[in-house]
């Protein structure tokens, strides 16, 4: 059940009401056991959603949870380093194999049959909900325990909630154990300020998703399904629209997940930080899908050696990470190509990067760099969105040749661009005022949620108007989350 679906929101309303009742009883009786009951309620609700989607998904996630829980305890209690490694390797292998089986079996069967001209029928495999995300959460947990970053969780319910927690299950963010477990252990319950803030963040996310992303998706789907029918200007507009769509879709979903989590008492970090003002590819990946890119950094790039073993090895590491990232996003040649292209560009950027750190701010140069990176990223989204190599080539042809066809200046693209620019301007102004700086001491722009105090009458009016506008302008043509497919 998607977070923006009507049925899910009705179910969530019931869950929230129940948690609220438990919170009221907890306040009156001051009984600590009620916090545990609230946690159990969250677990039951999360598992119910998985079970309702498909009982096999339920079995899958339960197996992954049990395996990871037991192996983590095994790692912690193991007497020798070798045993620890065995437990760790077993856990990672089983989880990766599980992910590989569900996600890539048919891709490899099709690839094998076309490569060797052999007839092979694909298997009837459905992708379990959230598998790409919870396997990564589980792997991160096992590695953290192995590295002794924190103690293994002994309470099986706490661990179960970590894996299955419904706001982040289907499309992330990939929350780390060190963020999640202290909050479960000292569960603070339902607090009025968190509910107000969480609700606002949720509605921001909903606006991004159903008003901006879903409207953009209509146009993008039209053009990508038949790029040769459209004029060059229209194809370029569609390519730009997809760049906006994927950002609003995914960041919108992340906001909804973060908002709902906050409402029920959990704080997660933002998953996007104005990625389209990045001045380099490395900066882009620090701003886009932060939970995934930081996962790859910490659990793949750095263990491979990171940038510590010379330029050539760094490039190899970057290529490996980006290829795997591409593959994680989808079992298709276009995703692999997307990852490969990012890998190559990241290598080039790394090799060209000057060793001397720039101490001066150069706003004009940074603006030009940001525009260049935005254009590059937008072009790189083409293979990501394309349904096949030929589709990708047709879109590229549409962009770079003077193609005659349908002219369609889609108004929602301009509206979405306007929203993006306005929010960026506000963020730039706020960051300047607060004096945010990066590790080199240079000014750095951070995004933020413009939260209001909903106990004030004026704020309530504005919030209700925003909710109403979201509903009135929303598109309900049954559009799934882009990242839910991964």
């Amino acid at each position: 059940m998607a977070l923006n679906s009507f049925n899910f929101l009705v179910c969530f309303a019931f869950l929230f009401a129940l948690l609220l009742v438990l919170e009221a009883v907890k306040t009156l009786t001051k009984s600590k056991i009620l916090s545990r009951i609230q946690i159990v309620t969250l677990i039951i609700f999360s598992y119910s959603l998985v079970f309702l989607a498909d009982w096999r998904f339920f079995v899958c996630i339960l197996s992954a949870t049990a395996l990871t829980y037991l192996l983590a305890l095994g790692i912690e209690k193991a007497k020798t380093a070798k045993t620890q490694k065995v437990y760790l390797s077993t856990g990672i292998c089983v989880l990766v194999l599980m992910l590989g089986y569900f996600k890539y079996t048919n891709f490899f069967i099709s690839g094998f049959s076309s490569l060797f001209n052999v007839q092979a029928s694909t298997l009837d495999i459905i992708l379990p909900i959230g598998i790409s995300f919870y396997t990564f959460s589980a792997i991160a947990y096992l590695i953290d325990i192995y590295r002794k970053k924190y103690e293994a969780v002994t309470n099986v319910l706490d661990f179960a909630l970590y894996i299955v927690f419904f706001p982040k299950l289907s499309s992330g963010p990939i929350v780390r154990g060190k963020t999640f477990f202290p909050q479960v252990k000292n569960y603070r319950g339902i607090k009025a300020k968190n509910v107000c803030d969480g609700l606002q963040i949720f509605v921001f996310g909903l606006f991004k998703k159903i008003v901006l992303a879903d409207h953009l998706g209509v146009f993008v789907n039209n053009v990508y399904s038949s790029p040769q029918s459209y004029s060059t200007a229209t194809v370029i507009l569609a390519v730009l629209s997809y760049s906006l769509q994927i950002y609003f879709d995914f960041s919108g979903y992340s906001d909804m997940a973060i908002g709902l989590s906050k409402m029920v008492g959990f704080d997660f970090e933002s998953n996007f930080n104005l990625p389209y003002i990045a001045t380099s590819f490395s900066d882009f990946w620090k701003r886009w899908h932060i939970s995934l890119s930081s996962w790859f950094m910490e659990y793949l790039y750095i263990p491979l050696g990171g940038s510590r073993k010379g330029g050539l090895r760094t490039c190899v590491n970057l290529l490996i990470v980006m290829l795997i990232s591409g593959l994680w996003h989808g079992a298709g040649i276009t995703f692999i190509l997307w990852g490969l292209l990012y890998g190559v560009l990241s290598c080039v950027e790394h090799l060209l990067k000057k060793k001397n750190v720039v101490k001066k701010q150069r706003p004009v140069l940074n603006s030009v760099k940001a525009l260049g990176i935005f254009i590059a990223v937008t072009l790189l989204w083409i293979p990501f969105r394309a349904t096949s190599l030929s589709n990708m080539l047709n879109v590229l042809k549409g962009c770079f040749t003077l193609q005659q066809g349908i002219w369609h200046p889609y108004s929602w693209t301009f509206f979405a661009l306007f929203c993006l620019i306005i929010s960026t301007v506000f963020a730039v102004v706020k960051s300047k005022k607060s004096g945010t700086k990066d590790k080199n001491g240079l000014p750095y722009v951070n995004g933020y949620y413009p939260l209001m105090n909903l106990t004030k009458f004026g704020s309530l009016c504005i919030f209700f108007i925003f909710c109403g506008l979201t509903l009135i302008l929303g598109y309900f043509g049954n559009t799934a989350f882009i990242y839910g497919a991964f």
Binding site: N7, S229, H408, I465, I472
Partner: protein
Amino acid sequence: MKKLTKKIRTAFYMLFKCAVAGVIALAVLSGVCFLVNYSGARVHNESGSTDFKWGENQYRSNALEGFAWFFMDEHGFNNIEDTSKEPDILLMGSSHMEGANVSQKKTTASLLSDKLPLSVYNIATSGHTIYNCVNNMDNAVKEYNPSKYLIVETVTAELTVYEMQKVIDGEFEPFESYDSGALYALQKYIPAIKTMYKQVGFWRDADKTPNENTIAKPAEENYEEVLENFLLKAKNSADKSGAQLIIFYHPEIKIDENANAYTEVSDKNKLLAFENACDKLGIIYIDMTDTFTALYNNDHILPYGFYNTGVGSAHLNEHGHKAIAEEIINLISEGK
């Protein structure tokens, strides 16, 4: 106890603030709806020429699908001039022909009126399929008495025996309308509620699987016979005023992955049966398929959709209206 009382008082005060803020928000949102998506209330049509009509001189706006801001005429239909008294041409149809998504000057009715030395009156109304139109045709002819042509628009020529039989038997259910009461007031003065109510309906339907959204239809028996009776009913209505009945069919044009235009026809036999039945009964039948396809092939123009909708989807745009008007003008000019 004091603390509890204070908390309860705070809660009630908060609820009161929410209620007042909600009312203010509704007022502001209704203002937004007046600008971007407003049609007023559906009013009962006493003449029965349509299931309902819009309010007299009703203000209409549309910026979510197409771009149009205009006023309906004093009878609640979309006409620039009031030519309702025995027009030469009477137009019936759905929201496509109503033309509430395009400028009034660019609707089929306006274009016909400009180019032909004939008076044209348009009573096409949202939601009115060919079933509604045939069902209301007797009343429409009685009310307006078109002297030369009665033109009916339809997006489909693949009808169902079930619905045609209902029309023939006089059991076809008309749309609801509201002349007064809470629903009328809500639609007219607080359009935000109507819009949000509709959106919530779409939202709920988005969760349903396709099977849940379709109504099971009984098997089609004696299709051609029923179709002939159905069209004969329409013909007889038109004959009462001596008007020539014209039915024009305008299918949705889609584009495949090879950039070729096509229409989705599930049963070509039904299309052929419709054309043959019209021919047999002396009804002029216009199929816009070839014209629309040529529009795309020659000029890369689709007759549906606007810059704020998907490409080629939604209602007839100004190009579609123009193509239809030209087709009718050619037909009438040829003396048919």
